[in-house]
C-alpha cells in the first residue's frame, strides 16, 4: 500500500490493568455479599403477614436498614421501568401504525399526576394481597415505575428516531438482524440520554417513594419500613433529632448513589458519544477507574460475562436481516400480512380493554351528584391557582439566579452537581418539618402546600435555566457586548429568547410536580389532627380515606383531565412558538 500510517501512542484504557491493590477486590467482594444478603432479607420480609400499622423504630441504628429497603424498592422499580421503556420504544419504532397510538398514550400518561392514583393503587393492591406485605410493596414499586417509565420511554424513542441516516443505512446494507442492530446501533446510540434521564428519574422517584411509604387514607394508615415512613413518624412525634438524622441519611444515600453509580455511569457512557473528533476533557470517574482495575471484576467479565454474551449473540444473531424504522425495503409478503394481522389483533384487544374500563368508570361516575361535581370544579380551580403561584414564585427567583450562574463558568461547574443533589432530596422529606412551622399560622396549610410545590419543583426550573444560559452561543454574547446591549435590553433581546425553550421545559416539568405535591399537601394528618384545605388534592386524599370511591374516581379523572388540557392548550402552543421562533440553530 502506498500510505504508511504510524500510530501515535495513545492513552490506552488498560493501563496498569492488573496492578490494582488488593483492597479494591476486597471491597468489591464485600459489596457483593452485602447485596446478596440484603436481597434475601428483603425477599423474606415480603412474605411476612401484612402489618399496615407497622411500628417504625426511631432509633438511629435502624436507619441503615430503612435506607437499604427504600433504595431496594427504587432499584427494582427502576429496572422494571428501564426494561419496559426500551421495549415500548422499540416496538413503537418498528411498527408505524402502533407508533401513532403508543406515543400519544405515553404523552397523556406522562401528564397525569401520579399521586392522584396512589390511593387507588394502594387500596387495590392491598385488597389483592390481604395477607402479606407484598401488596404494599408492589404499590410503592408501581408508583415509582410510573414516575420513571414514561420519561425513559420517550427518551429512548427520541434516540431511536434520531439515529443518523447513514449509520442506519450501514446497518441495513450489511444486513444486521434485529438483535445485532439493537445491540450494536440502537442501544449504544440511546445510552447517553437514557443515563441522564435515569438520573433525573431517580431524583423524581425519591419523592414518590416518600409519599408511598407512609400513606394515611382516612382511618387506615399504610406504612412500609423505610426512610419515608421514618421521617413521617419522626415529624409526627416531634422528634427533631430523629428527623434531622433521617434527613441526613437520605442525603448520604443520594450522595453515595451519585458517586458510586451515576458518575461512573456517565463516565462509562461517554464512549457512546457520536462525535467525530476527540473532544475536550471527557468525564472521569475515580470509581469507574478503580472498578475497572479490580481483578475480581475482570475475572468475572472474562470468564463469565463475555462467553455468555458471545453465546447469546450467536444464538440471537441468526435471525433474518432487518432494516430500521420508517421506510423499509419491501418485506416478503407473508410476513407483512402476518404482522398486519397481529397488529390489528393487538389493537383490537387493547381497544376492548379500554372500552371495558370506560364502561366500568362510567358506572361509578353516575354515582357522583351534581353538587359534588361542583365541589370538584371549585377544588380544581383552587389547586390550579396554587400551582400557578408556586410556578410564578419559582420562575421569579430561579431565572435571575440561574442566568447568573450560567454566565459564570466557575459557578456553573460547581452548581451542576449541587443542583442535582438538591433536586434529588425529596421535598416531601422536609414537608413534615414545614408543617410543624406553618400549621401554627391561620391559613397555614395553604402556604405549606404552595411551599411544598415550590420546593419540589424549583430545581427543575433552575437546572433548565442554567442549561439554557450555558447554551447561548459565545458569538451572540459577544455581539451583545459589542452593540452595548445592557440591562433590560440584554434581557429582552438576548437572554429571554435564548433560554425560552429551556425555561418552558422546566416549567412543564414543574407544573407536573406541583399537581403531585397538591395531593399530599392539601390534606394531612399530623400530630393526631386532620388538616385540610379546599383543593383537588384534598378531594382525592379525603375521598380515598373515607372510601367514597366514586368521588375518588371523579376527582382523579378531573385532575388528569385538567393537567392534560392545560398541557395541550397552553404549554404545547408555547412550545411550538419556542421551537419556531427561539430555536438557536
Amino acid at each position: 500500500m502506498a500510505q504508511v500510517y504510524v500510530r501515535a501512542p495513545t492513552k490506552t484504557r488498560s493501563s496498569a490493568r492488573f496492578r490494582a491493590p488488593l483492597w479494591i477486590d476486597a471491597l468489591v467482594f464485600i459489596a457483593f455479599i452485602g447485596l446478596a444478603y440484603g436481597l434475601v432479607g428483603a425477599a423474606s420480609r415480603w412474605a411476612r403477614p401484612l402489618t399496615p400499622n407497622g411500628s417504625i423504630d426511631l432509633s438511629p441504628w435502624s436507619l441503615p436498614r430503612y435506607a437499604g429497603l427504600s433504595t431496594m424498592r427504587m432499584a427494582i422499580a427502576y429496572i422494571l421501568s428501564l426494561v419496559f421503556s426500551i421495549a415500548y420504544a422499540r416496538i413503537a419504532v418498528a411498527n408505524r401504525r402502533a407508533e401513532r397510538v403508543m406515543i400519544p398514550i405515553l404523552d397523556i400518561l406522562q401528564s397525569v399526576p401520579i399521586l392522584s392514583f396512589l390511593p387507588g393503587v394502594v387500596l387495590a393492591l392491598v385488597a389483592l394481597f390481604p395477607h402479606s406485605q407484598i401488596g404494599l410493596e408492589l404499590a410503592a414499586i408501581v408508583l415509582i415505575f410510573t414516575s420513571q417509565a414514561w420519561n425513559l420511554a420517550f427518551s429512548f424513542h427520541q434516540s431511536l428516531t434520531t439515529i443518523p441516516k447513514e449509520l442506519s443505512d450501514a446497518a441495513t446494507i450489511y444486513r444486521l438482524n434485529f438483535w445485532q442492530r439493537f445491540t450494536r446501533l440502537e442501544l449504544p446510540f440511546g445510552t447517553i440520554p437514557l443515563v441522564w434521564n435515569s438520573m433525573m428519574s431517580w431524583a423524581g422517584g425519591w419523592f414518590f417513594l416518600m409519599a408511598a411509604e407512609q400513606l394515611t387514607l382516612g382511618k387506615q394508615s399504610f406504612q412500609l419500613p423505610g426512610l419515608g415512613s421514618y421521617l413521617q413518624v419522626a415529624a409526627n412525634a416531634g422528634n427533631t433529632g430523629a428527623l434531622l438524622l433521617g434527613l441526613g441519611t437520605l442525603i448520604v444515600v443520594i450522595v453515595l448513589m451519585d458517586r458510586f453509580v451515576w458518575r461512573p455511569l456517565i463516565a462509562w457512557s461517554d464512549r457512546f458519544k457520536v462525535e467525530s473528533t476527540a473532544g475536550a476533557a471527557a468525564p472521569e470517574s475515580l470509581v469507574l477507574r478503580e472498578l475497572g482495575r479490580s481483578r475480581l471484576i475482570n475475572w468475572i467479565g472474562r470468564h463469565v460475562a463475555l462467553p455468555l454474551g458471545q453465546r447469546l449473540d450467536r444464538i440471537l444473531g441468526q435471525g433474518p436481516a432487518r432494516s430500521g424504522a420508517g421506510e423499509t425495503a419491501a418485506v416478503p409478503g407473508e410476513r407483512q400480512a402476518f404482522r398486519r394481522v397481529a397488529g390489528w389483533l393487538l389493537l383490537g384487544l387493547a381497544g376492548l380493554a379500554l372500552l371495558l374500563a370506560i364502561v366500568d368508570a362510567l358506572r361509578l361516575f353516575v354515582q357522583v351528584t351534581p353538587g359534588e361535581w361542583g365541589q370538584i370544579g371549585v377544588a380544581a380551580g383552587a389547586t390550579l391557582l396554587r400551582a400557578a403561584i408556586a410556578l410564578a414564585l419559582a420562575v421569579l427567583w430561579t431565572v435571575p439566579v440561574g442566568v447568573a450562574i450560567g454566565f459564570s463558568p466557575k459557578w456553573s461547574q460547581r452548581a451542576q452537581p449541587l443542583v442535582q443533589i438538591f433536586a434529588s432530596i425529596p421535598a416531601l422529606a422536609i414537608f413534615p418539618a414545614l408543617l410543624v412551622f406553618f400549621l401554627k399560622i391561620p391559613g397555614g396549610l395553604n402556604i405549606a402546600s404552595v411551599a411544598l410545590m415550590l420546593l419540589g419543583t424549583q430545581w427543575y426550573v433552575l437546572f433548565n435555566v442554567i442549561a439554557g444560559t450555558m447554551a447561548i452561543p459565545e458569538d451572540l454574547r459577544e455581539a451583545a457586548v459589542v452593540y452595548k446591549l445592557r440591562g433590560w435590553r440584554r434581557w429582552r433581546f438576548l437572554i429571554i429568547p435564548a433560554i425560552f425553550p429551556f425555561l418552558l421545559t422546566g416549567m412543564i416539568t414543574a407544573t407536573g410536580g406541583a399537581w403531585n405535591a397538591s395531593i399530599v399537601s392539601e390534606y394531612v394528618t399530623f400530630g393526631g389532627h386532620t388538616y385540610t384545605t379546599v383543593g383537588l388534592g384534598a378531594t382525592i386524599a379525603s375521598s380515598a380515606g373515607s372510601g367514597r370511591y366514586a368521588l375518588l374516581l371523579a376527582a382523579t379523572v378531573t385532575m388528569a383531565a385538567v393537567v392534560v388540557t392545560v398541557n395541550r392548550l397552553f404549554w404545547r402552543r408555547l412550545y411550538r412558538i419556542a421551537e419556531q421562533r427561539y430555536h438557536l440553530d
Binding site: 500500500m1 502506498a2 500510505q3 504508511v4 500510517y5 504510524v6 500510530r7 495513545t10 490506552t12 443518523p164 447513514e166 449509520l167 443505512d169 450501514a170 446497518a171 441495513t172 446494507i173 450489511y174 444486513r175 444486521l176 438482524n177 445485532q180 450494536r184 446501533l185 449504544p188 464512549r271 457512546f272 458519544k273 457520536v274 462525535e275 467525530s276 473528533t277 476527540a278 473532544g279 458471545q310 444473531g317 441468526q318 436481516a321 432494516s323 421506510e327 425495503a329 419491501a330 418485506v331 416478503p332
Partner: protein
Amino acid sequence: MAIAAQSSPERAGVPLLEARHVSKTYGAEGSTVLVLKDVDLQIREGEFIALLGPSGSGKSTLLRVLAGLTPASSGEVLSHGAPLRGTNPNVAMVFQSFALLPWLTVVENVELGLLPKGLTPDDRRKRAEQAVELIGLHGFEGAYPREISGGMKQRVGFARALVVEPELLMLDEPFSALDVLVADTLRRELVELWQEHRIPTRAILMVTHNIDEAVRMADRLIVFKADPGTIRAQCAGLPRPDRDSKDAAHNDLVDRIYQVMVNPKADAVQILAGAEALEAVVTPGGHSIPTVPVSHLTGFVHRLDALGGREDLHDLARDLPMEADELLPMVDAANLLHLVELVQGDVVLTSEGRRFAEADIAERKAIFRHQALANVEILQRIVALLEKAPHHRVTEDGLLDALEKKFSPVEARRKLNTAIRWGRYADLFTYDDDRGEFRAVIPPPGAEVAATRP
C-alpha cells in the same frame, strides 16, 4: 466519438443489477417531490460506472434504490434478472461521511458486515484483520473512530465494504469529505485494487459530483439531470490505462461534461459526442434515428467494405477522412440498421452489411427496407399507425409531438425528416409535403418481388 452502444458480445448475459423505468417520489399526498423519473440502468460484470450529476439529480437516491435500502415508487429493480425484494444481498456500500459506529474499534467496525454470516468470532476477527491490512491500517485495529483522521476513517469504510466480498461495490461520494491529497491517494489505491483484481468485486457503482474523479476512475459515465432526476447521457468506453491529467483528450472530455452539467438544457449527447476520449455515447431511451441521409450511409458501408470490413474507429476516422462529428452519426445509423457492429472499439461489417455493400440498387433497397423495419422504432411506429388509420393516412403531428418530448423542436423536426427520407427510400410509405401526411404505399401488383426490377 459518438456511437449508439450495443451490448458487445463479452458483456452479453444477464446484468448483475438492473433498473427498469425506476421512478421515485418522496413525500405524502399533497406535497410530493419527484426525485427520479423513468430511469433505466444496467450494471454488468467488469464495469466501473460513475453516476455524475448536480445535487438533487437523484443519483444517491438511485444508488439507494438499487441497494434495496428504499423501494422504487414505480418500475422495478432486477438483481441477476430476478426482482429485488428487500435489501440487495450482493451489495456493500461506502458512505460519504464514513458511517462508522463511534463506540466500536476499527476492527470491530470492519467486522460489522461479517456478523450476519454465521462465522465464529475468531474467523471474523481474522478476516477483519486481513481487510484492515489490505487497506493499509495495520496497527490501528484497536483505535476508535474519533482517534483517527478522515482519510483513515474512509479506509475503514472501504475495509468494511470489502471484507464481505461483495459482488457489487457501491460508493456514495466516498471522497468528497476528504481533503484533496488524501482523496487522490485513496482513489489511486482503489483503482489499483480494482484493476489488479485483488478484490473479488465484479462491478463498482460510484456516485460523484466531481467530474475529474469520474473521468479518471470509471469506464462508463452516466450523466444525470435534476428536477426530476433523469439520465441525460451515458458515455462508455473511457480508456483507463493511459489516463493522465495532462492528457488533452482527458481535459477535453472534462470540459465537455462541465459544459453539459452547467447548462441543463444543452444537448448532452451532441456535446459529448465530440469528445475523443469516449467510445460511445448513448441517449436515454436508446436508439433514436440518427439524422443521416441514406446516400451517405451507403457510401460509408461501401468504404468500410473496401477497407476489408473491419477497422478501428479512430483509424477509420483518419482514413476516410472524416471529422468525428460526421463519422459518428454515420456509424450510429449503420449500427442501428445492424449493417455494422461495434466490437472492442472496431467497426465490423455484419453479414447483412456485406450483402448491402455488394448488392445492386434494387437489392440494396430491399435489404435496407428489411433492416429498417426490423430495427428503427420510429419507422415501425409509422407503419403500424398507417395500417390501422382510416384511409391509411396519418398526419405527422402526433409523431412530432412524441419526438419533441425527448428532443428540442429543431432536433425533432430533423429526425422526422430523416425518418421520412428513409421511409421513402425503403418504400415503406409515401409522404405528402403540403399536407404533412403519411400515406401507406399501395403496392403495385407484383411489386414485392422488387429484386427483379432492373
